[in-house]
Symmetry: C2
Subunit: 324 residues, 2 copies
């Protein structure tokens, strides 16, 4: 199967049990796992100081692995933006190394896209994606949080990515989206459009910097965790007001989770945010329900690759690879 290089570009790994389980799962799936020497380094809240994490990213680029997988997100990559080994990363991608991660990793993905055009993959990280405990782990751990283990859909998408056979992904649109899209006779929302995006807060943190990818006519996907709808709206409005959204073929919203509405909200919620965005954006379709975000069921998405976006009988399909 695949040679997978595991490294830590962002936050320190605190859940070592999840780390070990993740490696064992990848091995049990038949993959060869190589662990970066500083994968478990710690410095303050980071997986080693800035120089340590930069070196780890350099080793991941030089690994010759099929997949370079982050252990986790957190915070730390924006500190490294001026010094990332962009050329080495782009060369690695050119030679077939797939860089996979999400959350904080969005910053590296967008900066690499801006500087080199090299595509990467938005997908799971080792600990949260492959290290999720199942019932037998919990019994062993005496107190580990019992979940049902890694998500089956994520695993299937990861295998498709790792073996290079994936050619797209699809999801059932929520009812409100289906109603809206009925009015569009042509279900082909985007053709050969650059797919980009990731974590909304991280996307925002690149705006105005030299690492912002100026994507025109793209498909922008966004997700976030722990951000109240008013903050999600504020971020989306900024993207709108900066002219970014109107220049895209479509906006695709993934999962927005782990926020809490308060008594002050009085009916203001994420649905209102999406409705408001649609009212302001008008010409650019906003789809929701993409299975991507800080949730177990995550598809893998090729950031920086041309995609087609189709809507057919209430299903959305993002297609890449050899299909168009």
């Amino acid at each position: 199967m695949a040679h997978i290089y595991v490294y830590s570009p962002s936050g320190a790994v605190r859940d070592r049990a999840a780390f070990r389980r993740g490696i064992q799962r990848l091995q049990a799936m038949g993959h060869e796992v190589e662990v970066d020497p500083d994968a478990l380094a710690t410095f303050e809240r980071f997986a080693g100081d800035d120089a340590t994490r930069l070196a780890a990213i350099g080793r991941a680029a030089a690994s010759g692995a099929d997949v370079a997988l982050t252990t986790r997100g957190g915070y730390g990559i924006t500190r490294l933006l001026p010094d990332l080994p962009y050329k080495a990363l782009a060369r690695a991608v050119g030679k077939g190394t797939r860089l996979v991660g999400f959350s904080d990793f969005t910053a590296l993905q967008l900066a690499l896209l801006a500087k080199t055009g090299a595509p990467t993959w938005a997908g799971p990280s080792l600990c949260e994606g492959f290290g999720a405990a199942d019932a037998s782990d919990a019994a062993d751990d005496h107190g580990g949080k019992a979940t049902s283990g890694p998500d089956e859909i994520m695993l299937a998408c990861f295998d498709d990515m790792a073996s290079g056979v994936g050619e797209g992904t699809g999801w059932r649109l929520p009812k409100a989206d289906r109603e809206l899209l009925k009015a569009r006779r042509d279900g082909h929302l985007a053709h050969d459009a650059t797919l980009w995006g990731g974590n909304l807060a991280m996307v925002m943190s690149m705006l105005g910097t030299p690492w912002w990818p100026e994507v025109e006519g793209g498909v922008l996907f966004l997700e976030d965790v722990g951000e109240h709808p008013y903050r999600v709206e504020r971020m989306l409005l900024q993207l709108l007001q900066a002219g970014v959204l109107a220049r895209q073929k479509a906006i695709v919203l993934g999962q927005f989770t782990e926020y809490r509405l308060g008594p002050q909200d009085k009916g203001f919620n994420l649905t209102k945010v999406v409705d408001g965005l649609r009212a302001r954006l008008k010409k650019v379709p906003v789809l929701t329900g993409l299975p991507f975000g800080h949730v177990p069921t995550k598809v893998l998405l090729p950031v920086g690759r041309p995609v087609d976006l189709l809507v057919e009988e209430g299903d959305a399909m993002l297609l890449w690879g050899h299909m168009h």
Copy 2:
């Protein structure tokens, strides 16, 4: 004394007792208080829908008052940015109306500065600034949160602003700042430099939009509430990476409050963030300790006005008005 127009451009007023106390305090100070008809309007989490709040801002601009004071912050002004009555607001400022507020109000202040150059005041809002309960209020309220009432320093600064006699403000620098600044023989850090800034998250929410004020050689002041140091750092890094910080004469940090460090932080804190910023920024001094933010002791600061920034024997002084 002053004619004060009270209006609600952002979040709905929920604490009506604080609202009433604030008005009574201003009246007791001798001011004439005019309350906007929609000051207590509510729509979802907002003080009325967007059209209602826009109309209130228009009435504040047309009021002819000496001071137009917001009832509170919250969230809502970024929604209005494309439609704010910029010319009417600038005309009102030209005729002597001082627009005062903070937090969400930062968005209006920076947009007005960008579009018209008109100065405004960063300062208290009615409810949190003047509505703070004291011991006698709590006794009356049977359960109201007893504090010591409005802050004396804020009240003195507000009176200076309202009567137009204020010419500057000063504060004792923290020890670390004093050590750093010893190396600078010349304590005159900025001369005739535009003072700008406010709430850090709101400043960030303007970046890349048509309402971003392109201030060169200014003094940028920043505060925030409820933002973890890693998020404060991420925002400061973005301003640095966007080239904004290096173009200023000085950065002045106010109060950063109501965040909670977690077990994952392991020594990463706000001091580390400030140290890291200083190490990266090098040529531009970063002062801390400005008495401004989501705290009772707040000075009033003229956003968009030229200021001098001086450091003398461990004190910092921001001077405006007729003194230079």
